[in-house]
Symmetry: C2
Subunit: 348 residues, 2 copies
């Protein structure tokens, strides 16, 4: 069967190769789609990624959607079920967080991740995975269920926002600002509206699909410069750009007891001059919180599955702006104008 | 009776004046001691502070210790009880946080504060306060109970650290770094050791009382430059300096899932160049939290009273490095070499 593999840290070494059928135990899954994100592009560019121990090549792909084609006796899954693979696996000798099932909060970094770190990814025609590593999703999500993994990151973000907010009994966020309207920002916007909060979204793009999608959610779209963010006074900010100037701006401008959740990553070095005394003073006097979040554990995948099942299917489907056949993978891995989420569609 | 009053925003306008005996309802308290902190010095320098509405002068003092001399019928307080006044009062039309008793998290800034904002302080021979505005402390704290207010700030810091930490089930902090060994840093160190955590303390002073006090708590004292902080890898950092360079260093150097609690304030502007991309990246990939905290509500005063009652009395007493008579208040308000906490002692 075919798989998209590369030699980690070797730029542009990706190629479509023949690999043996998946062997061993576990549920056999036929891949329907694999989503592409910035991490995949970093791995492709040779900046990131680890092959499985003793091997040269890593199969790419961590945003998956598949269909169960073979189950073990006694499984709660059935043939035909739609499933998504959980990306991170704890080390066999787990840290306290991993031992509690909170591998997203791993304390020692000894985890592995499908398609990223020491475990083959899902960009292959079939894979086997232990049942507890698969999340079943609503059958109606056949078109957009590949968005589950990025949604799990947002579900974790909201889970932690709510847990941190609950440090005070009286916390009840009304106004939410999302910076960056890529897939994470749009899914964060969806989960924000599902909570009934007022939504503001900031992105550089002035027109096109992004403002439309936000408007359809009932949110307000801002693209006229960072200064506009200073007056929004949001109770919660979900930062999805990773851009230094945006991060510094949202850290300095939010409501009293405000919570800023950082989800975005950008690479490189960007030293900016910032008044740390003023930032510190504002954070102290206003009881502000800033926190970073990465990855998601099983509970967050389940929350994400519930959120996607509640979403308007047409809205969700429009986040996938390009579907590309596996043979055309080079095309999928390029960033193009107007892209939101590009998916390698195994049914094409 | 005598009171230390000043005209807010008029530098060095403080003077000892005669004021009428406290009238109205509430518990009558004889002042035993008033602690002096950086906020008092900012008010004295004309940088901060608000007089009560319609008045020119504000009586200074928010860190109090007093003895009940007259109670109303049905009071749970008795003559001779040691009490401390709660600094912040919510607005008569409270915000949701204030309505829940969490006036330390006030959302609209419409609170008042004894000795700081629109309410006379405790630096007067007697005051009256409603019973619910007084916290009773252990009779053995006659010498050091004036430390209750700064301890309440630290009790709130630890309360929020623990609530934020509990966003994951597996959180269990082992190593704590306290930056700054002033009164807040030393009291934070005390509460850290009361929780059984490993304690590291950073301060500029190489010798004298501070290293001794930390050593007696069983902590490790560091004074050899900020670089030393990078290797400590603390699960929790309690930042008590407010200094831009220290804040930037601790935000960038802590353990995975680390929590940095900012309690320190410094004035002025200090623009430092910092790599925000790297800071953001580390916070995201390591699930880090940074939060600010100010003030304390009644629950935190009660926690602080319990913490002080458990502390070693001699250790606590040594935090008060100068006791000055009310007539000598100018002396008390000056910062002197070797000062930790200076107290105006009404019994001298």
């Amino acid at each position: 069967m075919r798989a998209l593999a590369l030699r980690p840290l070797h730029p542009h070494s990706a190629e479509l190769i023949e690999v043996p059928e998946p062997s061993g135990l576990g549920v056999l899954v036929r891949t329907l789609a694999v989503g592409i994100c910035g991490t995949d592009r970093e791995i492709l560019d040779g900046e990131y990624g680890w092959a499985p121990p003793g091997r040269e090549r890593l199969i790419l792909g961590h945003e998956s959607l598949g269909e169960v084609i073979e189950v073990e006796d006694g499984s709660s899954l059935r043939k035909g079920d739609l499933v998504v693979g959980i990306v991170r696996h704890p080390d066999p000798v787990p840290c306290p967080a991993c031992a509690a099932g909170e591998f997203d909060m791993c304390r020692n970094g000894q985890y592995s991740e499908h398609g990223i770190k020491e475990l083959d990814g899902f960009c292959r025609e079939r894979f086997r995975l232990a049942e507890e590593r698969l999340v079943r999703i609503d059958p109606k999500l056949r078109q957009s269920g590949v968005l589950l993994e990025p949604t799990s990151v947002v579900a974790k973000a909201w889970d932690h926002i709510e847990r941190i907010g609950a440090r005070t009994r009286s916390w009840s966020p009304r106004r939410v600002l999302v910076t960056g309207a890529g897939p994470i920002g749009l899914l964060a916007s969806l989960l924000t509206r599902q909570r009934g909060c007022e939504l503001h979204v900031y992105d550089r793009h002035e027109d096109g699909l992004k403002p439309e999608l936000i408007k359809e959610l009932g949110g307000e779209y801002h693209s006229s410069g960072l200064e506009a963010l200073c007056g929004i006074n949001a109770d919660v900010v979900i930062e999805c750009t990773g851009a230094a100037s945006v991060v510094a701006t949202v850290m300095s401008n939010n409501a009293r007891s405000g919570i800023v959740c950082l989800t975005g990553l950008s690479s490189g070095t960007h030293r900016i001059k910032h008044d740390f005394t003023a930032l510190n003073r504002a954070m102290v006097l206003e009881n502000d919180v800033v926190f970073g979040t990465v990855n998601a554990n099983r509970a967050h995948y389940e929350m994400a599955a519930a959120a996607l099942a509640q979403a308007e299917p047409n809205w969700l489907g429009r986040l996938i702006t390009r579907r590309v056949a596996l043979t055309d993978w080079r095309n999928a891995l390029e960033s193009k104008e107007g892209d939101i989420k590009t998916v390698i569609d195994f049914c094409l």
